[in-house]
Protein backbone atom coordinates (compact mmCIF):
# COMPACT_ATOMS: atom_id res chain seq x y z
CA UNK A 1 0.00 0.00 0.00
CA UNK A 2 1.15 3.54 -0.77
CA UNK A 3 0.78 6.58 1.50
CA UNK A 4 -2.23 7.89 -0.46
CA UNK A 5 -4.12 4.62 -0.05
CA UNK A 6 -3.18 4.37 3.63
CA UNK A 7 -4.54 7.86 4.28
CA UNK A 8 -7.71 6.94 2.40
CA UNK A 9 -8.08 3.78 4.50
CA UNK A 10 -7.48 5.34 7.95
CA UNK A 11 -11.23 5.75 8.69
CA UNK A 12 -11.90 2.13 7.72
CA UNK A 13 -8.94 1.03 9.86
CA UNK A 14 -10.22 2.98 12.88
CA UNK A 15 -13.76 1.66 12.41
CA UNK A 16 -12.45 -1.91 12.12
CA UNK A 17 -13.74 -2.34 8.58
CA UNK A 18 -10.54 -3.62 6.92
CA UNK A 19 -10.13 -7.27 5.97
CA UNK A 20 -7.31 -9.27 7.60
CA UNK A 21 -5.11 -8.96 4.51
CA UNK A 22 -5.75 -5.23 4.23
CA UNK A 23 -4.99 -4.79 7.92
CA UNK A 24 -1.67 -6.63 7.54
CA UNK A 25 -0.67 -4.49 4.56
CA UNK A 26 -1.77 -1.39 6.46
CA UNK A 27 0.36 -2.27 9.50
CA UNK A 28 3.36 -3.19 7.30
CA UNK A 29 3.23 0.28 5.74
CA UNK A 30 2.97 1.98 9.14
CA UNK A 31 6.15 0.20 10.32
CA UNK A 32 8.05 1.81 7.47
CA UNK A 33 6.32 5.18 7.10
CA UNK A 34 6.72 7.67 9.94
CA UNK A 35 4.39 10.29 8.38
CA UNK A 36 1.44 7.92 8.02
CA UNK A 37 2.00 6.59 11.53
CA UNK A 38 1.94 10.12 12.96
CA UNK A 39 -1.17 11.03 10.99
CA UNK A 40 -2.99 7.93 12.26
CA UNK A 41 -1.96 8.76 15.84
CA UNK A 42 -3.20 12.35 15.48
CA UNK A 43 -6.57 11.36 14.02
CA UNK A 44 -7.02 8.61 16.59
CA UNK A 45 -6.16 11.04 19.42
CA UNK A 46 -8.55 13.71 18.12
CA UNK A 47 -11.39 11.19 17.91
CA UNK A 48 -11.23 10.96 21.70
CA UNK A 49 -12.71 14.47 21.79
CA UNK A 50 -15.86 13.29 20.07
CA UNK A 51 -18.53 13.32 22.74
CA UNK A 52 -16.47 15.30 25.26
CA UNK A 53 -18.27 18.31 26.58
CA UNK A 54 -18.78 20.21 29.76
CA UNK A 55 -22.21 19.47 31.17
CA UNK A 56 -24.32 22.54 31.94
CA UNK A 57 -25.69 22.19 35.48
CA UNK A 58 -29.24 22.92 36.67
CA UNK A 59 -29.94 26.68 36.38
CA UNK A 60 -31.77 27.98 39.47
CA UNK A 61 -33.40 31.04 37.83
CA UNK A 62 -34.14 29.33 34.56
CA UNK A 63 -37.92 29.34 34.91
CA UNK A 64 -37.99 33.06 35.88
CA UNK A 65 -36.00 33.96 32.76
CA UNK A 66 -38.15 31.69 30.63
CA UNK A 67 -41.33 33.29 31.97
CA UNK A 68 -39.94 36.78 31.23
CA UNK A 69 -39.11 35.72 27.68
CA UNK A 70 -42.58 34.25 27.19
CA UNK A 71 -44.25 37.46 28.42
CA UNK A 72 -42.05 39.61 26.20
CA UNK A 73 -42.91 37.42 23.25
CA UNK A 74 -46.61 37.62 24.07
CA UNK A 75 -46.41 41.41 24.24
CA UNK A 76 -44.63 41.54 20.89
CA UNK A 77 -47.28 39.33 19.27
CA UNK A 78 -50.35 41.09 20.64
CA UNK A 79 -48.85 44.59 20.98
CA UNK A 80 -50.64 47.58 22.52
CA UNK A 81 -53.55 48.76 20.27
CA UNK A 82 -52.81 52.10 18.52
CA UNK A 83 -55.38 54.83 19.30
CA UNK A 84 -57.74 55.85 16.48
CA UNK A 85 -56.61 59.50 16.36
CA UNK A 86 -53.02 58.32 15.94
CA UNK A 87 -53.97 55.93 13.15
CA UNK A 88 -55.79 58.75 11.26
CA UNK A 89 -53.69 61.80 12.10
CA UNK A 90 -50.30 60.25 11.56
CA UNK A 91 -50.80 59.39 7.84
CA UNK A 92 -52.57 62.74 7.30
CA UNK A 93 -49.60 64.62 8.79
CA UNK A 94 -47.16 62.62 6.68
CA UNK A 95 -49.20 63.35 3.51
CA UNK A 96 -49.39 67.06 4.36
CA UNK A 97 -45.64 67.39 4.92
CA UNK A 98 -44.94 65.42 1.77
CA UNK A 99 -47.23 67.79 -0.21
CA UNK A 100 -45.51 70.85 1.29
CA UNK A 101 -42.14 69.40 0.38
CA UNK A 102 -43.20 68.79 -3.24
CA UNK A 103 -44.66 72.34 -3.50
CA UNK A 104 -41.45 73.91 -2.17
CA UNK A 105 -39.48 71.81 -4.58
CA UNK A 106 -41.60 72.99 -7.55
CA UNK A 107 -41.33 76.62 -6.47
CA UNK A 108 -37.58 76.40 -6.13
CA UNK A 109 -37.38 74.75 -9.54
CA UNK A 110 -39.42 77.51 -11.25
CA UNK A 111 -37.37 80.16 -9.41
CA UNK A 112 -34.26 78.65 -10.87
CA UNK A 113 -35.73 78.88 -14.40
CA UNK A 114 -36.47 82.62 -13.84
CA UNK A 115 -32.95 83.35 -12.74
CA UNK A 116 -31.64 81.48 -15.78
CA UNK A 117 -33.63 83.84 -17.98
CA UNK A 118 -32.11 86.77 -16.12
CA UNK A 119 -28.65 85.37 -16.65
CA UNK A 120 -29.20 85.01 -20.40
CA UNK A 121 -30.59 88.59 -20.56
CA UNK A 122 -27.55 89.87 -18.70
CA UNK A 123 -25.30 87.94 -21.05
CA UNK A 124 -27.03 89.57 -24.03
CA UNK A 125 -26.54 93.01 -22.48
CA UNK A 126 -22.91 92.23 -21.80
CA UNK A 127 -22.29 91.21 -25.38
CA UNK A 128 -23.90 94.47 -26.59
CA UNK A 129 -21.68 96.46 -24.28
CA UNK A 130 -18.64 94.49 -25.44
CA UNK A 131 -19.51 95.29 -29.06
CA UNK A 132 -19.85 98.98 -28.20
CA UNK A 133 -16.59 98.97 -26.26
CA UNK A 134 -14.80 97.32 -29.15
CA UNK A 135 -16.02 99.91 -31.65
CA UNK A 136 -15.07 102.73 -29.26
CA UNK A 137 -11.63 101.24 -28.87
CA UNK A 138 -11.22 101.04 -32.63
CA UNK A 139 -12.11 104.74 -32.90
CA UNK A 140 -9.57 105.54 -30.23
CA UNK A 141 -6.98 103.62 -32.19
CA UNK A 142 -7.85 105.68 -35.23
CA UNK A 143 -7.49 108.90 -33.25
CA UNK A 144 -4.29 107.69 -31.74
CA UNK A 145 -2.82 106.86 -35.13
CA UNK A 146 -3.72 110.30 -36.43
CA UNK A 147 -2.12 111.92 -33.41
CA UNK A 148 0.99 109.81 -33.65
CA UNK A 149 1.32 110.61 -37.35
CA UNK A 150 0.94 114.29 -36.51
CA UNK A 151 3.60 114.14 -33.77
CA UNK A 152 5.85 112.03 -35.93
CA UNK A 153 5.60 114.59 -38.74
CA UNK A 154 6.31 117.41 -36.31
CA UNK A 155 9.26 115.58 -34.82
CA UNK A 156 10.75 114.98 -38.27
CA UNK A 157 10.46 118.62 -39.12
CA UNK A 158 12.08 119.57 -35.82
CA UNK A 159 15.00 117.27 -36.47
CA UNK A 160 15.39 118.65 -39.88
Amino acid sequence: MKCKEIQYRIPEYLEGQLSENQKKAFNRHLEQCKDCKELLAQVSHSMQYLGKKESIPYQPYYYTRLKAKMEKRQEAISGAPTPLWKRVLQPAAYTFFLGVGIYIGIMLGSGLNGSQQEISRAEEEKSELDAYAESAFMNEMELESLTSTFILTNDTSYEE
Binding site: Q7, E15, V43, H45, M47, G51, K52, I56, Y62, L66
Partner: protein, 190 residues
Protein backbone atom coordinates in the same frame (compact mmCIF):
# COMPACT_ATOMS: atom_id res chain seq x y z
CA UNK B 1 -47.27 12.99 38.85
CA UNK B 2 -46.90 10.91 35.67
CA UNK B 3 -46.33 12.37 32.21
CA UNK B 4 -49.93 11.99 31.04
CA UNK B 5 -51.35 13.82 34.07
CA UNK B 6 -48.70 16.53 33.75
CA UNK B 7 -49.48 17.08 30.07
CA UNK B 8 -53.23 17.12 30.75
CA UNK B 9 -52.81 19.75 33.44
CA UNK B 10 -50.66 21.93 31.17
CA UNK B 11 -53.25 21.56 28.41
CA UNK B 12 -55.84 22.81 30.91
CA UNK B 13 -53.71 25.91 31.52
CA UNK B 14 -52.09 24.94 34.83
CA UNK B 15 -48.96 27.08 35.11
CA UNK B 16 -47.56 25.12 38.05
CA UNK B 17 -47.67 21.97 35.94
CA UNK B 18 -45.69 23.71 33.20
CA UNK B 19 -43.17 24.84 35.79
CA UNK B 20 -42.83 21.24 36.96
CA UNK B 21 -42.23 20.09 33.38
CA UNK B 22 -39.55 22.77 32.90
CA UNK B 23 -37.84 21.85 36.17
CA UNK B 24 -37.89 18.15 35.30
CA UNK B 25 -36.50 18.53 31.77
CA UNK B 26 -34.44 21.71 32.00
CA UNK B 27 -31.03 20.05 32.32
CA UNK B 28 -31.77 17.53 29.58
CA UNK B 29 -32.97 20.16 27.08
CA UNK B 30 -30.12 22.60 27.80
CA UNK B 31 -27.52 19.86 27.40
CA UNK B 32 -29.03 18.48 24.19
CA UNK B 33 -28.91 21.97 22.72
CA UNK B 34 -25.34 22.35 23.94
CA UNK B 35 -24.36 19.06 22.29
CA UNK B 36 -25.40 20.51 18.95
CA UNK B 37 -24.38 24.15 19.45
CA UNK B 38 -21.20 23.77 21.57
CA UNK B 39 -21.87 27.14 23.17
CA UNK B 40 -23.41 27.62 26.62
CA UNK B 41 -25.13 30.97 25.93
CA UNK B 42 -26.66 29.72 22.68
CA UNK B 43 -27.73 26.49 24.36
CA UNK B 44 -29.50 28.35 27.19
CA UNK B 45 -31.17 30.70 24.73
CA UNK B 46 -32.33 28.00 22.31
CA UNK B 47 -33.51 25.75 25.17
CA UNK B 48 -35.89 28.52 26.28
CA UNK B 49 -37.32 28.63 22.77
CA UNK B 50 -37.75 24.86 23.03
CA UNK B 51 -39.88 25.25 26.17
CA UNK B 52 -41.90 28.05 24.57
CA UNK B 53 -42.56 25.72 21.63
CA UNK B 54 -43.55 22.94 24.04
CA UNK B 55 -45.97 25.30 25.82
CA UNK B 56 -47.49 26.48 22.54
CA UNK B 57 -47.90 23.03 21.01
CA UNK B 58 -48.67 20.90 24.07
CA UNK B 59 -52.22 20.39 22.75
CA UNK B 60 -50.67 18.51 19.79
CA UNK B 61 -49.05 15.93 22.07
CA UNK B 62 -51.26 12.84 21.95
CA UNK B 63 -49.01 10.49 23.89
CA UNK B 64 -47.93 8.25 20.98
CA UNK B 65 -44.27 8.79 21.90
CA UNK B 66 -42.78 9.16 25.36
CA UNK B 67 -42.90 12.77 26.60
CA UNK B 68 -39.09 12.88 26.87
CA UNK B 69 -38.75 11.61 23.25
CA UNK B 70 -41.17 14.30 22.07
CA UNK B 71 -39.19 16.96 23.97
CA UNK B 72 -35.90 15.58 22.57
CA UNK B 73 -37.32 15.90 19.06
CA UNK B 74 -38.26 19.55 19.57
CA UNK B 75 -34.85 20.29 21.12
CA UNK B 76 -32.99 18.66 18.21
CA UNK B 77 -35.11 20.49 15.61
CA UNK B 78 -34.64 23.85 17.33
CA UNK B 79 -30.88 23.32 17.60
CA UNK B 80 -30.62 22.38 13.92
CA UNK B 81 -32.73 25.42 12.99
CA UNK B 82 -30.40 27.61 15.02
CA UNK B 83 -27.35 26.16 13.22
CA UNK B 84 -29.07 26.79 9.86
CA UNK B 85 -29.86 30.42 10.67
CA UNK B 86 -26.35 30.89 12.04
CA UNK B 87 -24.91 29.62 8.77
CA UNK B 88 -26.99 32.21 6.91
CA UNK B 89 -25.54 34.92 9.11
CA UNK B 90 -22.08 33.49 8.67
CA UNK B 91 -20.76 36.14 6.32
CA UNK B 92 -21.62 38.81 8.88
CA UNK B 93 -19.91 36.83 11.65
CA UNK B 94 -16.83 36.47 9.47
CA UNK B 95 -16.62 40.25 9.19
CA UNK B 96 -17.25 40.62 12.92
CA UNK B 97 -14.52 38.13 13.80
CA UNK B 98 -12.16 39.87 11.43
CA UNK B 99 -12.44 43.07 13.46
CA UNK B 100 -13.18 41.76 16.97
CA UNK B 101 -11.50 38.37 17.09
CA UNK B 102 -13.14 34.96 17.31
CA UNK B 103 -15.13 34.73 20.58
CA UNK B 104 -16.86 31.50 19.65
CA UNK B 105 -14.84 29.37 22.02
CA UNK B 106 -15.71 25.73 22.60
CA UNK B 107 -17.27 24.92 25.94
CA UNK B 108 -14.96 22.01 26.70
CA UNK B 109 -12.09 22.70 29.02
CA UNK B 110 -9.65 19.94 29.96
CA UNK B 111 -10.41 18.70 33.45
CA UNK B 112 -6.94 17.48 34.35
CA UNK B 113 -4.31 20.04 35.16
CA UNK B 114 -1.91 20.04 32.26
CA UNK B 115 0.53 22.59 30.98
CA UNK B 116 -0.72 25.69 29.17
CA UNK B 117 0.47 24.21 25.87
CA UNK B 118 -1.46 21.01 26.51
CA UNK B 119 -4.59 23.03 27.26
CA UNK B 120 -4.15 24.99 24.04
CA UNK B 121 -3.68 21.76 22.12
CA UNK B 122 -6.80 20.28 23.67
CA UNK B 123 -8.80 23.40 22.83
CA UNK B 124 -7.50 23.32 19.28
CA UNK B 125 -8.43 19.65 18.88
CA UNK B 126 -11.87 20.34 20.31
CA UNK B 127 -12.33 23.21 17.85
CA UNK B 128 -11.34 20.99 14.92
CA UNK B 129 -13.78 18.33 16.10
CA UNK B 130 -16.63 20.88 16.27
CA UNK B 131 -15.78 22.08 12.75
CA UNK B 132 -15.77 18.49 11.50
CA UNK B 133 -19.20 17.92 13.08
CA UNK B 134 -20.55 21.11 11.54
CA UNK B 135 -19.59 19.85 8.09
CA UNK B 136 -21.75 16.73 8.42
CA UNK B 137 -25.15 16.40 6.73
CA UNK B 138 -27.98 17.01 9.24
CA UNK B 139 -29.09 13.38 9.68
CA UNK B 140 -25.53 12.15 10.24
CA UNK B 141 -24.86 15.04 12.61
CA UNK B 142 -28.02 14.33 14.62
CA UNK B 143 -27.36 10.59 14.92
CA UNK B 144 -23.70 11.01 15.84
CA UNK B 145 -24.35 13.85 18.31
CA UNK B 146 -27.12 11.99 20.12
CA UNK B 147 -24.96 8.87 20.25
CA UNK B 148 -21.63 10.45 21.23
CA UNK B 149 -22.64 13.43 23.35
CA UNK B 150 -25.98 12.25 24.77
CA UNK B 151 -24.88 8.61 24.93
CA UNK B 152 -28.25 7.54 23.59
CA UNK B 153 -28.89 4.00 22.43
CA UNK B 154 -29.63 3.35 18.75
CA UNK B 155 -33.23 2.48 19.61
CA UNK B 156 -33.82 5.83 21.34
CA UNK B 157 -32.09 7.75 18.54
CA UNK B 158 -34.35 5.96 16.06
CA UNK B 159 -37.41 7.11 18.04
CA UNK B 160 -36.23 10.71 18.23
CA UNK B 161 -35.30 10.81 14.54
CA UNK B 162 -38.30 8.70 13.50
CA UNK B 163 -36.18 6.36 11.36
CA UNK B 164 -35.51 2.56 11.45
CA UNK B 165 -32.90 1.42 14.00
CA UNK B 166 -30.57 -0.10 11.36
CA UNK B 167 -30.44 3.26 9.59
CA UNK B 168 -29.10 4.85 12.78
CA UNK B 169 -26.07 2.56 12.71
CA UNK B 170 -25.39 3.36 9.06
CA UNK B 171 -25.65 7.11 9.73
CA UNK B 172 -23.31 6.95 12.73
CA UNK B 173 -20.66 4.92 10.89
CA UNK B 174 -20.80 7.27 7.89
CA UNK B 175 -20.60 10.27 10.19
CA UNK B 176 -17.58 8.92 12.09
CA UNK B 177 -15.77 8.18 8.84
CA UNK B 178 -16.55 11.66 7.49
CA UNK B 179 -15.21 13.21 10.70
CA UNK B 180 -12.04 11.11 10.44
CA UNK B 181 -11.61 12.11 6.80
CA UNK B 182 -11.97 15.77 7.78
CA UNK B 183 -9.31 15.30 10.48
CA UNK B 184 -6.94 13.60 8.00
CA UNK B 185 -7.30 16.51 5.56
CA UNK B 186 -6.88 19.01 8.41
CA UNK B 187 -3.68 17.44 9.79
CA UNK B 188 -2.22 16.95 6.32
CA UNK B 189 -2.60 20.66 5.60
CA UNK B 190 -1.59 21.99 9.04
Amino acid sequence: MNDQTLVKRIQEGDEDAFRTLVDQHQEMVVNVCNSFLHNTDDALDVSQDVFIKIFESIHKYKGQAKLSTWIYRIAVNHSLNHIRSKKRRNWLNTLDNLFNGDDDKPVYEPADEGSYEQQLEAEEEQKVMIKALQKLPEKQKTALTLNSYEEMAYKDIAEVMQIPVNQVGVLITRARKSVQQYLIDYYKNN
